[in-house]
Amino acid sequence: MSVTHQAAAEESLKSGSSFLKSEAGQGWLTISPPFLYALLLLVGPLTVIIANSFWSQDYLTIDHTFTLKNYQAALTEPIYRDLLFRSLYISIMVSVVTVVLAFPVAYFVSFHGGRYKGLWLFIITVPFWSGYLLRILSWKVILGYKGVLNGSLLSLGIISEPMTWLLYSTSAVIITLAHSWAAFAILPIFVSLEKIDRTLLEAAADLGDSWARRFLRITVPLALPGITAALLIVLIPTVGDYVTPKLVGGKDGVMIANAIQVQFGKASNWPLGAALAVSTMIIVCMMAGLIVALLYGLKRILK
C-alpha cells in the first residue's frame, strides 16, 4: 500500500488545495505542532551552535568571519583532546557495562516475567525517573573515603584501610553513570526479546540445538537490534553528562561537558564551546556507527 500512498501524496501535492484533505496532508497537519516546535527549539538552536563554532570571539563581540581555529583548538590542544578521549572512553565503558549487566535482567523479565512483566518493568524504571541529582549525590556518599562502602567493608574486616580510588575517579563516574542508565538499557533489549517468536526457539530445540546454541544462534541475533539500540541510547547521552563528573569524578573524572560548560560560563568563549560540543557530537556519532557495524559483523559470524 505504501506505494499507492506515496503516489497519492505526490498527486495531492500537485493539486494543492486538496492536499490538506488527503491522508498525507492530514498527517502533516496533525504532526506539525510538535514538529515545528522541535524545528524551532532543537534544529534551529543546533544550527546556530554549528554556525557559532565557525566564528570567533574577541572579548564580548563575535567575529562572524569563517574560521576553523576553534576546531583546531578543540582537537589539538591536549586538554580538550584528552577530555574528549576520556569522555568517549567513559561513555563506551558505561554503555558496554550497562548493556552486559542489563541483558540477563531483560531476558529474565521477557522469558520468566509471566504475568508480572509490567510490574517488573515498572520496578526497574522507577529509580531512573526519580532524583537524578540525588542519586549521584548518593553515590558520592557511598563511594567516599569515609563512605558507606568503605565503612561497611572496614567493619566487616574485608579491607584494613579505606580504598581511596573509589571516589573522585574515572571508575566512580563509570559506576554512577551505569547505575543511572540501567533502565534505559533494559527497555530496548526487553522489547526486542519480546518480539522473538517463541516457536522459533522450539523449532531450534526440535532440530537438536542445546539451550546454549539456541541462545547464541537465535536469541542473541534476534535481540541484536535491541542490544544495538541500548548501546547507543546509553552511549550518546552519557558522553555529554555534566553532573556526574562534577560530583563524583574529581580531577581524573572531568569530562568534556564540564569544559563546554566553562566556555559558556566563566570563560565565556561561545565559539570554542560550540566547537567542542559539535566535535563531541560528531565523534560520538562516528563511534555509534562503528558499534553498529561491529555488531552486524558479529551477527554474521553467529549465523
Partner: protein
C-alpha cells in the same frame, strides 16, 4: 523456551541483586535524612526529624518548590497536547517524511542534554530573551514531548479508528466525537502522560541549570546547597520528599497506563 531449573534460580538471584543495587542509592537518601548526624555515614546514630523541620521556614526552598510546580504543570500540559498531535499523526496517517518528522521530535531523548542546553541558551540570549521560568518550560517541553509520545502512542494504537467513524455515523460532529469518544477513551493515557512529563520536569537539572536565570527550580536549588557541607542533611531531607513525590506520581501514571492497556485490549478483541 525456559532454562533448566538451576539456571533459572541463579538468574533470578542475579536479577534480585541487580534490582537491589538499583534501589540502594535511592533508599540511602531517606535513610540518612532521618539520621541524627551532620554527615551521612554508617553506622546510623539515631532517629531525628530535625532535618525536615529545618526545611519548614526556608523561604528560598519554598520559592524553588513553587517554581518547580509551575514549570512542571506547564510542561506536563503542553507536552501532552503536543504529544497527542504527534501520537495521533504517527498512528493514524501514512505520509511521506513521517520517519524524519518523528526522528526530529524524538531526538531530544538521546541527545546529550548539555548540547540541548547550550544551544537553547545561545539562541535565547541571542534573541534577547530574559532567562526565566518560561525559558525552563520551553526547554523542558523539548525533552518531555518524546516521553509523552511514547506513553500516548500505546493509547492510540489500542484505539480502533472505526470508533470515531462509528460516532460520526451515529450523527455526532467532529468536535462531539473528540469530546464523547476520543478523549474519554484516551483519558488513561493522557493522565499517564501528564504525570510522567510532570515527574521528568520536576527531576530535570541540566536544562534548568542553564536556563533558569535567577529563578531556580528545586534541583537547581539543591545543586546550590551542595556547596555547603553543613546543609547536606537538609538537602537529603528535601531529596527524600522529592523522591517520594516522584514515586507516588509514577505509581499513578503506571496505574493509568495499565488501565489504558486493559481498555484497548479488551476493546479490540473478539470474544
Amino acid at each position: 523456551m525456559k532454562l533448566r531449573a538451576g539456571s533459572t534460580s541463579s538468574l533470578k538471584f542475579y536479577v534480585f541483586v541487580y534490582v537491589a543495587i538499583l534501589y540502594i542509592p535511592v533508599l540511602l537518601i531517606p535513610v540518612f535524612s532521618f539520621n541524627n548526624s551532620a554527615t551521612p555515614k554508617l553506622p546510623l546514630v539515631g532517629f531525628t526529624i530535625k532535618w525536615y523541620e529545618g526545611l519548614a521556614g526556608n523561604g528560598a526552598m519554598q520559592t524553588a518548590a513553587w517554581n518547580s510546580l509551575i514549570v512542571g504543570i506547564c510542561a506536563a500540559f503542553l507536552s501532552t497536547v503536543l504529544g497527542i498531535c504527534a501520537a495521533r499523526a504517527l498512528t493514524r496517517y501514512k505520509f511521506r517524511g513521517k520517519t524524519v518528522a518523528s526522528a526530529v521530535i524524538m531526538a531530544p531523548l538521546i541527545m546529550p542534554e548539555i548540547i540541548i542546553a547550550i544551544s537553547l541558551l545561545v539562541v535565547m540570549l541571542g534573541i534577547g530573551m530574559e532567562l526565566s521560568l518560561l525559558t525552563v518550560i520551553l526547554g523542558h517541553l523539548l525533552i518531555c514531548v518524546p516521553y509523552s509520545i511514547t506513553v500516548l502512542i500505546a493509547g492510540f494504537e489500542g484505539f480502533d479508528p472505526s470508533m470515531e467513524e462509528a460516532s460520526r455515523d451515529l450523527g455526532e460532529s467532529s468536535w462531539g466525537t473528540l469530546r464523547r469518544v476520543t478523549l474519554p477513551m484516551l483519558a488513561p493515557s493522557i493522565i499517564s502522560s501528564l504525570l510522567v512529563s510532570f515527574t521528568i520536569s520536576l527531576d530535570e537539572f541540566i536544562l534548568a541549570f542553564f536556563l533558569s536565570g535567577t529563578e531556580p527550580t528545586l534541583p537547581v536549588y539543591i545543586w546550590g546547597q551542595l556547596r555547603f557541607a553543613a546543609k547536606l542533611p537538609n538537602v537529603l531531607a528535601l531529596g527524600s520528599i522529592l523522591i517520594l513525590a516522584s514515586l507516588v506520581l509514577l505509581t499513578f501514571a503506571e496505574l493509568a497506563r495499565r488501565r489504558a492497556e486493559k481498555n484497548s485490549h479488551s476493546g479490540g478483541q473478539f470474544q
